[in-house]
């Protein structure tokens, strides 16, 4: 039972001290990449935190205009490199929907490919949340979760290495299917991992989530309520941490997500420990709960039968009809949208990626106002940004 918390953690020093400008990053271990924050400090209290981005800009959108559709997929790997399977999938879903606009060019993705996609993307979601959990613990000051998370993430990467031949930039999900069928005994290995991993989540919860020091650092800090999250356009675990139950897999089910039984993890107000809706702790807790739901989905795939058949739809060439499409899918960090304009040639006219991390980062300025410098670290870890996706 924690001691009762003060109502607000906002601190105002009177009189104000001299304003000091501190550059945090771009080479800072807790900014999760090359994020530079210009902190305007009043003593140790942050008056303003201005994020400067663009250090990892690699012209994904401009590159795409000069590449054919299958060639763009390896570039989407480099956006959110922690959950590259989901990025591949998001792009492929958009192109598939664009091609479905023309009856002659439309095709059905084979059942087996759909199951493989869900299986592999949910594994990737676990891996992504594990990394988020581990690095958040390390930012806050607990080193053990980092080692535990990377030990388990390694097992997922080994599975990916077997199915697609790469550890980080998979290029696995293709337009119309997946690139390779699974090797023999792959499902047994996935089951072995799931059986190993499921009890570990509770262990991690007792290791970090319910830790008194961790809760002291994160509960009630940087509260982003539901209205604010919606105003900023924030999606994914950050929105669900604010109490909203919005999950594209449930609300607008794409692929075969409507066949699985899972719950949407969302933030809860727990007065006993001081957790407020939309604080750092709730945003973090949603990710831990989501890992359990991903395990549930994978279990349903393993228990049901994965149908035999082709893994790639039959089509001649990827040449979508003239038109435009916006398609969004639920990546581990939020709604990943792709806007594609096609003029009927094999190369797109315009590709625009709507990144969930970019919108999450835009809320940082308002979230961090009036908090201590040490809380900035807690906020960046809790909104879980990947700079590769912010800058693209």
């Amino acid at each position: 039972m924690a001691a009762p918390k003060p109502e607000s953690k906002f601190i105002e020093l009177k009189p104000f001290t001299d304003e000091m400008v501190v550059n945090m990053g771009p080479q800072h271990p807790s900014t999760h990449g090359v994020l530079r924050l210009e902190l305007k400090l009043d003593g140790e209290v942050v008056r303003e935190a201005i994020p400067h981005i663009g250090y990892l800009h690699r012209c994904f959108e401009k590159h795409s205009e000069n590449l054919s559709y299958p060639q763009i997929i390896p570039f989407t790997d480099r956006m959110d490199y922690i959950a590259a399977m989901n990025q591949n999938w998001g792009f492929c879903l958009a192109v598939e929907k664009l091609m479905a606009a023309d009856e002659k060019k439309g095709f059905e993705v084979p059942e087996r490919a759909e199951y493989l996609r869900v299986l592999i993307c949910e594994l990737n979601r676990i891996g992504s949340h594990l990394l988020s959990f581990g690095t958040y613990g390390m930012d806050i000051g607990a080193f053990t979760p980092f080692l535990y998370a990377f030990r388990d993430r390694e097992k997922i990467l080994l599975l990916f290495e077997k199915i697609c031949g790469a550890r980080l930039t998979y290029n696995y999900v293709r337009i119309g299917g997946v690139s390779r069928d699974m090797p023999p005994q792959f499902l047994d290995e996935v089951k072995e991992f799931i059986d190993y991993f499921e009890p570990k989540i509770d262990q991690y919860n007792s290791l970090l989530t319910d830790n008194e020091i961790f809760m002291e650092r994160t509960t009630g800090v940087a509260v982003m309520d539901n209205a604010m999250a919606i105003n900023y356009g924030i999606t994914g675990p950050n929105l669900r941490g604010a109490g909203s139950q919005w999950d594209l897999r449930k609300d607008e089910p794409y692929s075969i997500y409507d066949r699985f039984d899972f719950d949407v993890a969302y933030g809860k107000e727990i007065p006993e420990i001081g957790a407020v809706l939309g604080d750092c702790w709730n945003r973090y807790k949603v990710r831990m709960d989501e890992m359990k739901e991903s395990v549930r989905i994978i279990r349903q795939i393993l228990e049901g039968d994965i149908p035999d058949g082709p893994i790639m739809a039959e089509m001649k060439a990827v040449r979508p009809p003239k038109g435009e499409i916006f398609f969004r899918s639920e990546a581990p960090r939020g709604e990943l949208g792709f806007y594609i304009v096609s003029d009927g040639t094999p190369k797109p006219v315009r590709v625009r990626a709507k990144s969930p991390c970019f919108t999450a980062l835009s809320a940082l300025q308002e979230l961090s106002r009036g908090l201590m410098v040490a809380d900035i670290i807690a906020i960046i870890g809790s909104i879980d940004i990947v700079m590769g996706e912010v800058d693209r």
Partner: protein, 222 residues
């Protein structure tokens, strides 16, 4: 006073114990690898197996390559450079034949007699150029690839591995499956002192006994 000296004694004593442990290591075999000169994977120490199908270095079996340039076209980063020279019309370097890949990673080049489809528990007889007819039990056969008739001289087949992004698209479009990614430990070893060594050159112009183009040579000499 007595405490003071016993502390000094304990401190010095523990230093000697520590030094004894360190000193013992002097007589143990060294575990350091002089990395660019010797690789730990050659000694099969502290390395795990790389799964089959891993996307490592690119390798082109140039004997099977027909110079179709599909890999050059699909490469997203344009790191494959191919130049070909077309033969006079109607001529070809060799006719279509089969390449039988065996499970022990060797291969036999020749024409399969009879049906090309390999059925289980039979023997496959292959008519080769060098060894005559060769008979192999079908369970040893891993796959059969058709080597297409070649109407090109492949003058240059370079891959700049320092640009490669390991997407594997080029290996998937290859019609003869001659461009592969090496899935062994050698396939992930790159250490070199000169970056130009990372441009892998696969073309073997000497294997064609190509007639010398005297006019082009004279032009190049000028």
């Amino acid at each position: 006073m007595r405490q003071y000296f016993s502390n000094i004694y304990l401190g010095v004593y523990s230093v000697f114990i520590g030094m004894a442990i360190t000193f013992r290591q002097l007589f143990k075999p060294s575990v350091t690898h002089q990395y660019p000169y010797e690789h730990s994977f050659e000694q099969k120490k502290n390395v795990r197996d790389i799964p089959q199908g891993y996307r490592g270095q690119l390798f082109n079996r140039i004997e099977d390559c027909i110079g179709c340039k599909k890999c050059e076209m699909i490469c997203p980063v344009d790191c494959i450079y191919i130049t070909t020279e077309k033969l006079p019309k109607g001529e070809r370097l060799w006719d279509s034949m089969n390449v039988v890949h065996l499970k022990d990673r060797t291969e036999i080049v020749g024409m399969i007699e009879g049906d090309e489809k390999i059925e289980a528990d039979t023997t496959v007889s292959i008519q080769t150029r060098e060894r005559g007819a060769v008979e192999i039990p079908s369970e040893q056969v891993a796959r059969v690839v058709e080597r297409k008739p070649v109407i090109f001289y492949l003058d240059k087949f370079d891959i700049d591995m320092s640009l490669c992004m390991y997407c594997g698209l080029c290996t998937e479009v290859c019609p003869t499956e001659c461009l592969i990614m090496i899935d062994t430990l050698e396939g992930i070893e790159y250490s070199t002192f000169d970056r130009t060594n990372l441009i892998f050159k696969f073309a073997k112009p000497e294997m064609y006994d190509k007639p010398l183009d005297e006019a082009a040579d004279a032009e190049a000499a000028d």
